[in-house]
Symmetry: C2
Subunit: 312 residues, 2 copies
């Protein structure tokens, strides 16, 4: 490995993990991806899994490591206690918890907790994406991070004011695999294109009906029986309804009319959400999710004095 | 069996079946319940399953049989083609399809289809409950039939004007068994009581937010992590949110403000929906679902001239 590697950055989720070696400017020198997320690491041992990846990357034995994601949950390596919102983004990163008993300096960025009696919510991993999304230090910003559990975050003057979770990706999978809609979508649901008119129309319906889509879900099955709706159109309808409902709901909660939304996403999902936000008349500031999490992890390392010679 | 048996009535669903022997007034003389619904009967043979139950009930060999439910679907015994709405309730019952090649007179009540491009929908079985619900022949009525796929029906002057399906029961099962909420609800979700304050509060939240509950679903998980929400309260929250969302949505679609809703339901589910409709300020006309399906089946037999000596 090149001698100018400064830190290893790890995004360690429930089912997957990514490791980057970063230089002193935060630029990636090397990357590895693995399926040894939390679930695998609980059995194989977190230290073993991490050291295996670092060895493959020929990382120096004393290279510091900064981690975000479910590895910091109660079921993870160690629990990095939640930081309560409202909290400044800087304070979140500074709260990284050091793993005891390791020869390297290894720290895990904490998740966020919203301890409202009425709207309890949590995140782990997205706080790091948020920190790396390049938001201006001032002003009010709404950030959308789509995924299995999509997060919407309200940031004011560099402080996370509040957030919400819409389990859109999980609803899609669970309905496609385990509900009556499995007959409609088929064994391998088709991927959905953002310019698919069926996706767009379903999205518009969900937006115009304020997210009230539950009876539309059964309509996918009935559409197959009565109108010959095929598997690809069924998948596009389900996707459009769920994403449209999420945006309809979040738009109302965060009063984003007329304001730009920072969309932190990658790949096809980012394109779908970009299209859906466009249908809702919401302008977007697109940020690549991989870039954001890497930048957030690097900033966490910097804030915690883990980058040799760099000042926090 | 008593000599005054007039007809056998069968409610034949996807997973279960019920058979009654009815006298000439429609009163039940005997009943059997079985787990040999559509799925079992597809393998065992519909005729075999039915004759087995009739033999146990010592039914005469020439007793006519009237059936409703999924046995009349494409995957059933024979397909009893859908009747399109709008349709008079009488015409639906008259459309019963006779099974060919059987020595008995066996007929299956058709389901209903709503062939709107925008709101396709189907039902099989509930049309018979509706016919037996004792609605007045005149006036406008809204009927709620809760279940796996809850049906709401708008009836005007004895004609089914339209209907909708909310897959509330299925969403509950699928989320409880297959989503992240399985960690919150536990292996055997607790049954929910209608006077449970957690159920009632969740229902009120869903009603006040117009059925926009998707982000509240993840809140059940977060409530467990942050506030120690237990399994019974998690089940009550999920049930209250889903039932409240169904009512919020249907209330808006059918503009039922100020009008009574006929609630066709049995057992604990009927009590939950009665409470939830009460929280929505909607008065109910409760009808027992078992009585309704039996009365509907008897009326179908009568309309089709299957009751010896009775005039249609």
């Amino acid at each position: 490995m090149s001698g100018n590697v400064a830190v290893a950055a790890v995004d360690w989720g429930t089912t997957r993990l990514r490791v980057w070696l970063l230089d002193r400017s935060g630029a990636p020198l090397a990357e590895r991806r693995g399926d040894d997320g939390l679930i695998t690491a609980q059995k194989a041992g977190f230290s073993n899994v991490l050291e295996g990846h670092l060895a493959q990357l020929q990382a120096p034995g004393d290279l510091p490591v900064v981690i975000c994601g479910m590895a910091g949950s109660r079921q993870g390596w160690i629990e990095a206690p939640y930081v309560d919102v409202p909290s400044s983004i800087k304070a979140i990163l500074k709260g990284a918890a050091r793993i005891p008993g390791e020869s390297r300096d290894i720290r895990i960025v904490p998740g966020l907790a919203q301890r409202l009696a009425d709207r309890p919510d949590v995140m782990r991993g997205e706080e790091t994406q948020l920190a790396g999304a390049g938001l201006p230090a001032t002003g009010t910003h709404t950030v959308c991070m789509p995924g299995t559990h999509s997060k919407w975050v309200s940031v004011r003057e560099g402080t996370v004011a509040g957030f919400g979770t819409w389990p859109t990706g999980e609803l899609y999978s669970v309905l496609a695999e385990h509900s009556i809609l499995r007959h409609s979508l088929g064994e391998k649901p088709a991927s959905v294109a953002a310019d698919d008119p069926v996706f767009r129309k379903s999205c518009e319906i969900a937006l115009s009906e304020g997210g009230d889509i539950l009876s539309r879900l059964f309509g996918i099955r009935a559409g197959g029986l009565l109108h010959g709706l095929g598997a690809a159109d069924a998948a596009a309808t389900l996707s459009g309804l769920l994403i449209g409902a999420e945006i309809a709901s979040a738009r109302q909660r965060y009063r984003i009319e007329g304001r730009e939304v920072t969309l932190v996403a990658s790949g096809p999902l980012g394109v779908l959400y970009g299209a859906a936000l466009g249908l809702a008349g919401i302008a977007i500031n697109p940020v690549d999710a991989d870039d954001a999490v890497r930048a957030g992890l690097f900033e966490a390392a910097r804030q915690n004095g883990m980058i040799a010679g760099a000042s926090a």
